[in-house]
Symmetry: C2
Subunit: 437 residues, 2 copies
Amino acid sequence: MERTLVSQTIEKIGSEVLLKGWVNTRRDHGKIVFIDLRDRTGLVQIVLNPELAEGLHSEDVISVTGLIKARPEKLVNPKLSTGTVEIEAQKVELISKSAELPFDMGQETLQLELPTLLDNRALSFRHSKIQAIFKVQEVIINAFRQALKDKDFLEFQSPSIIPSIPEGGAEVFEVKYFEHKAYLAQSPQLYKSLLVSAFERVFSVNQVFRAEPSVTTSHIAEFTSLDAEMGFIDSWKEVKDMAEYTIKFILNEIQTKCSQELALFRAVIPEVSKEIPHLKLREAQQIIFDRTSRDCRKEKDLAPEDEREICKWATEKHHSELVFISHYPTKYRPFYTYPDDEDPEYNQGFDLLGRGREWLTGGRRIHDYKTLLQHAKEWKIDPDKIKTYLQAFEYGMPPLGGFAFGAERITMFVLGLSNIREASMFPRDMERVDVHL
Amino acid sequence: MERTLVSQTIEKIGSEVLLKGWVNTRRDHGKIVFIDLRDRTGLVQIVLNPELAEGLHSEDVISVTGLIKARPEKLVNPKLSTGTVEIEAQKVELISKSAELPFDMGQETLQLELPTLLDNRALSFRHSKIQAIFKVQEVIINAFRQALKDKDFLEFQSPSIIPSIPEGGAEVFEVKYFEHKAYLAQSPQLYKSLLVSAFERVFSVNQVFRAEPSVTTSHIAEFTSLDAEMGFIDSWKEVKDMAEYTIKFILNEIQTKCSQELALFRAVIPEVSKEIPHLKLREAQQIIFDRTSRDCRKEKDLAPEDEREICKWATEKHHSELVFISHYPTKYRPFYTYPDDEDPEYNQGFDLLGRGREWLTGGRRIHDYKTLLQHAKEWKIDPDKIKTYLQAFEYGMPPLGGFAFGAERITMFVLGLSNIREASMFPRDMERVDVHL
């Protein structure tokens, strides 16, 4: 008999079917045993006599042949998508035996500490709430791709191994590369920019690496970077608009495809206005000063409390939980960021903030070869170490810009997770690579 | 005025438009200058008077305001998709000046040696034939995803940094990971298998790393691995069938979406029969012996000449350029490969060969925890180093299998490229990471 999936049972009342899956929970009631069987589509209740259920416990893999019956109305379980049916088991086969579990998997919410969840990753993945995180993440990544494909962007694979660290920096992992030293890419920035000189519009979904020597709830050493870059722009605002379109597309896809997953986390998609409000950094700082009397008007960036305050402002004034901040001081952003023509002390880089956190970063880049070389020198970057990148600019580069964000961070912010490690299947940090180091 | 793309010009005859792009070629004919303007959608001919064209040369980035005119029938250029029109330039602006080119970009085929192409990667990407390679690759990767999404597989992001090398091996890159040693993943194999215990069906598109200390035309140090894994199989043949479905889906997508790109390479999609023929290794070797008198019947694998011969056989006998070979000697495949129940000296691993080369590798995996532990021991693998992976099997793993292949290899085979480096945007090998080491 061909396998029936759990989700298909509600359409096959009265049929004899073959189900396969894991014993999610077992409840013994004297002469009758209930098993919730779990497969990739959900849970369904199996009714067995004690002989058929003998020895079965949680996480055993079994196949069940049985009859699908409609439940009497008062026994319908509204919490289960298959709550209108149950399976009267005729035959049970053990496919794979599970060892005794180190903790109870039957909770609606896994009440475990993060280290326990990660030490038992293969097990914690089986919980519906943890599965939901990675279903939402898949939707986010796929929506990012779809949004940009619809706008004629080419997807490319950015390399992880890079030959040198142009900007120096301790936060880069070193690789023993045959007889040489190489490094792990912190971002596809230089590659995506150089590709604009040939393909105009490109995006990538790739792992990037940050050797941040600190243990916080929002940093991991390897994450999935969603990167886009586009040429022939007339202004940095075109880049901001493309970022806005992309984020809205993603949020809309989550709303449409992940209602169940959002419900599990009691999460709602952020409220966004028709046009996401935008402030220059100095404007934002003035607003914060006016609202709180906290004077951050000469700071080079917003502190976490400022980010929260300006998000509060945007929500109150513009009914938007997202807000763009642009025009940071030029000298504190990367060498390739485009200084504003009218006031070159500030540049045309921007961040998208939401719910008090940084969601995305982007901006216009310098496209003129000589200006770029000049900036590289001022930023103390050896042009020889970015030769391949510079070549694209030497031979005719259109005005360009782009943006980037981490798939794990967006997942975390949308679902309201408290630690980014929850949004990474296999989080790496100073203390852990799968196992505790 | 809003920008018009080159491909849109044929629908706007008689309109005044603004075009932006690169000077692809310039031809001077006394009082008239022709420029082929290139943007991401193709080439179109611009007609200018010499003053407007003053100083313009190849790869300059310009904007052109002009009138779209239909060409007289005898001047239609059938080689150009916009060959029915030309643009009478009224105004030209230089957006970005290009330096003198190190080589002539105007050839239909770039007649350059690979090292020159790679030393000038930013420039070589601008050639239509090189762009075609990466458009085909995008279609391959996207088709892989689509094929598996349609079959209910979840896409996941596999980590690049791994804690240890369970199977030992010199072909792994070492990473200085904070105060520890870590390594770069050679494959997502263990991660995708363990995920089957929770998600049943998963796939990934990720960079993987091989420190192969040899310079050949078919090896690079970093490539894009397309990986799939599925649970609750009844037999290894289900895995083979899924691989067959996936490859056929991909080939069909290339056929449908890349006719222009295929034409540039005079390439045709391999001929495939309704069911791809399948042989056990020993059967294949017998056929090779019968056809050539070359006796490889006791070898553990097929040599390159054997692979070519058996592909020839499949094409002649079954009108299929692709052929599956299965049942390799158990002890020469990885520890997790499932030994055949009837003849455990051979296992249920398989390769898909095509046009004399290996396209894909896959197989059923051991799902029983004790058997897997036993194999790990026999293969001299420290179970402690694969703890996270083994955990999935300890707590109930369904019968499973999967397959994997490299995006660059498939691109190379389909387009008939002579070196895999041509199919990688930024190929890494012993001698090169962007620049010569």
